[in-house]
C-alpha cells in the first residue's frame, strides 16, 4: 500500500515540486492551514459543542476554555471549530449547485443567442434586483427556514452571477470555427455546450468559484444571525454572534467576537487565494 503511494508521488515529482513552491506564498499557506482546521476541526475540539455546563456560563477565556463559554455554558472554541465545518459545507454545496446551473445556463445563453439569451438576461436582472438578504427572507417566507432551504437560497443567489460571467466570457466563441465544425460532425447543441463550450471558461469558473464561496459564507452567517438558517443549538458562526450580541453591551465580548473573527479569517484567506491567483495570471500573461 505504502509502496503504491510512494511510487505515485515519485511519478508526479515535478507537479509536487511545483505545488511545494506554491506553499511558500503566504496566502496559499494560510488557506491550507484554514482548510486543515475546517476538515479536522471536530477532532481538535476539546469539548463537545453541545454539552452545556450550567455551572460555568459566560466564563471569560481561560486555560480551560481558550475562547470562554457562552450563556449556556458551551465551550466557544469547540463550537467555533464545529461551526467551521457546517458553514463551509453549506456554502460549498450551495455554490456547487448554483454555480453548476448558472454556468450551464450561461453557456447556453452564449451558444443559443436570440430569444433564449434575451430572456435569460432579463431573468438575471430580475433576480439580481433583490438585495440578497431580503431575497432570502422572501424565500424563507414562502418555504420556511432551516439548513436545507439555506442551501437553496445560496444556490439561487449564485445562478445569476455564474450565468452572467460565463455568458460574457463565452459570447465571443459563438462564431468560432470549432463550433461549426462540431455541428457539421453531427453533434447536437447540448453536447457541444457541455463538452466544448464550458471547458473554455474553466479559468473564469474557478476564480468565480473561490469568490462566491467566500460570499456564501457571509450570507449564511448573516441569515443565521437574523435567526433564519441554521437553527440553534447547532453551532454556526452567525447564530453564535447573535446569541452573544446582547451581552456585548455588558462587556462580555467573547461569545460574539471569536465566531466573527473566524468568519473574517476564513473569508480573508479565501479572497487572498483568489488575489494570488489573479496576480499569477497577470504575471504570466505579461
Amino acid at each position: 500500500m505504502i509502496k503504491i503511494i510512494i511510487s505515485m508521488l515519485l511519478k508526479n515529482r515535478k507537479n509536487l515540486q511545483k505545488m511545494i513552491i506554491q506553499l511558500r506564498r503566504p496566502p496559499v499557506f494560510v488557506f491550507l492551514i484554514m482548510l486543515f482546521i475546517v476538515v479536522f476541526g471536530p477532532l481538535l475540539a476539546p469539548y463537545d459543542p453541545l454539552e452545556p455546563k450550567p455551572m460555568n456560563t459566560l466564563a471569560a477565556p481561560s486555560w480551560d476554555h481558550w475562547f470562554g463559554t457562552d450563556n449556556y455554558g458551551f465551550d466557544i472554541l469547540s463550537r467555533v471549530l464545529y461551526a467551521a465545518q457546517i458553514d463551509f459545507s453549506l456554502a460549498l454545496i450551495g455554490v456547487l449547485i448554483g454555480g453548476g446551473i448558472g454556468s450551464l445556463l450561461g453557456a447556453s445563453a452564449a451558444y443559443r443567442g436570440g430569444i433564449t439569451d434575451f430572456f435569460l438576461l432579463r431573468f438575471v436582472e430580475v433576480v439580481q434586483s433583490f438585495p440578497v438578504l431580503l431575497f432570502a427572507l422572501a424565500l424563507f417566507a414562502a418555504i420556511g427556514g432551516g439548513s436545507r432551504n439555506l442551501v437553496l437560497a445560496i444556490a439561487i443567489v449564485n445562478i445569476p452571477m455564474y450565468l452572467r460571467i460565463i455568458r460574457s466570457s463565452l459570447l465571443p466563441l459563438r462564431t468560432a470555427e470549432f463550433v461549426d465544425a462540431a455541428r457539421c460532425a453531427g453533434l447536437n447543441g447540448f453536447i457541444i455546450v457541455i463538452k466544448h463550450f464550458i471547458p473554455n471558461a474553466k479559468g473564469q469558473i474557478f476564480s468565480l468559484f473561490v469568490l462566491s464561496c467566500a460570499y456564501a459564507i457571509q450570507i449564511i452567517a448573516g441569515l443565521s444571525f437574523i435567526g433564519l438558517g441554521v437553527e440553534p443549538p447547532h453551532p454556526e458562526w452567525g447564530s453564535m454572534i447573535n446569541a452573544g450580541a446582547g451581552y456585548i453591551m455588558l462587556g462580555v465580548w467573547w461569545p460574539s467576537i471569536f465566531p466573527g473573527l473566524a468568519i473574517v479569517i476564513s473569508v480573508y484567506a479565501i479572497n487572498g487565494l483568489s488575489r494570488q491567483q489573479m496576480t499569477d495570471q497577470i504575471r504570466s500573461s505579461v
Binding site: R122, F123, E125, V126, S129, F130, P131, V132, L133, L134, F135, L137, A138, L139, F140, A141, A142, I143, A214, Q218, A221, G222, F225, I226, G227, L228, G238, I241, A245, I248, M249, L250, G251, W253, S256, I257, P259, G260, I263, V264, V267, Y268, N271, G272, R275
Partner: protein, 356 residues
Amino acid sequence: MKLQNYSGSEDPQQINNFAIFSRLMRYFIKRLGILFIVLIAVSMLTFSVTRIAGTPLYAAIGVYSTKEMIEERKEQMGLNKPLWEQYTNYLTGLADGNLGSSRRTFAPVKDEIGDRLPATAELVIFAVGLSILWAVPLGATAAFKPHGWADRLGSILSQFGVSVPSFWLGLIFIYIFYYILGAFPAPFGRLGGADPPSFVTGLYSIDALINGNLTLFLETLRYIAMPAITLSFTSSPPIFSVTRSAVSKVLGSQFVEAARSYGIPSRVINFRHIAPNAAPPIINIVAMTFGYMIGGAVLVEVVFSWPGIGTYAVQAMDFSDYDPVLGVVLLSATIYVVIYFLVDILQVVLDPRLRE
C-alpha cells in the same frame, strides 16, 4: 487656396441632430419597456410567494374552523378565482399602493413601511456619503501613484471591508466605542427614545437643522455615527476599486498625455479632462450601491435596533407575518431597478459618444 481641396477639410457627415435625438428617444423607450418587464416579473415573484406561503387563508381564520367557514372565507378573499385574475387584482392593488396588512398589528403595510422608510433612507444617505468621502479621493490618489500609500491603504481597507461581516463589525464598534470609550450612545435606535424633531422630511438630522435645534442635531449625529460607519465600511470597497481603475484608465489615455504636452496646467487637466471622463463609472457604482443598500442594510439595522424597513421585515418574519416582508422586498427591488434604469439613461446623457 489649394488647402480647401484636402480631404478632411470639407464639412463631413452632416451631423444630423434630429437623427441622434430620435435614436436617443428610442433607446429611452426601450429601457423603459425593459424596466416595466422587470417590474412585472418582480411583482410576479412576490405574488407567487404570497400564494405559496399559504398565509392568507389560515391567518385570517385560525385553526378551529369548519369546512364551510373555510370555503366562505376563501370566497370572500377571492381565492377561488383563477390565478390570472388573482394576479391582476394583486397588481391593481399594488397600483393603489395596497401592500397588504400586518397580521400582527392589523395596520396597512404601506403605512408601516412609510413610517420606517425615512430611517433607512437617512442611514443609507449617511453611509453612502461617508463612502464617497473616503473611497473616491483615496481611489483617485491611488490611481495617480500606483503602489503608493493610498493604493496600499485602500487595498487593505477594501479587503477587510469585504471580509468582515457587517453585523459583527457593528458589534465591535459598540463594544469599543460605547462600552469601553463611552464616546457614542447605546445602540437603541435613532435617538435612544428621546423626542424626535418636528416632522419635515423624516430625516432626523435634517429636521433638527431645519428646526434650528443644534443640540438635537448633534445628538442625531451621535446616534447615526456607528451604524453609518459600519455600513459604509462594508459597502465602500467597490467604490474604491472602481474609482481607482476609472481614474487609472483615464490617466493612461493619450489625450491626457497630449493635454499635458500642450502646457495645460495640471489643475485644469484634473478638473476638465480627467474628472469628466472618469466620472461615469464612479457615478454608476455609487448609485448602484445606494439602490442596493436600501434593502441591504438589514443586518446593520438589526444590530443597532435602527427602526428602518430592514428591522421591520425581520421582526415580521419572527412572527410569521408575511405581508410586511413581501412589501419590503417588493419595495427594495423596485427602488433598485428604477435607480438602475436612471443610471443607464444618465450614462447616455453624460457621454456624447454613446449617442451614436
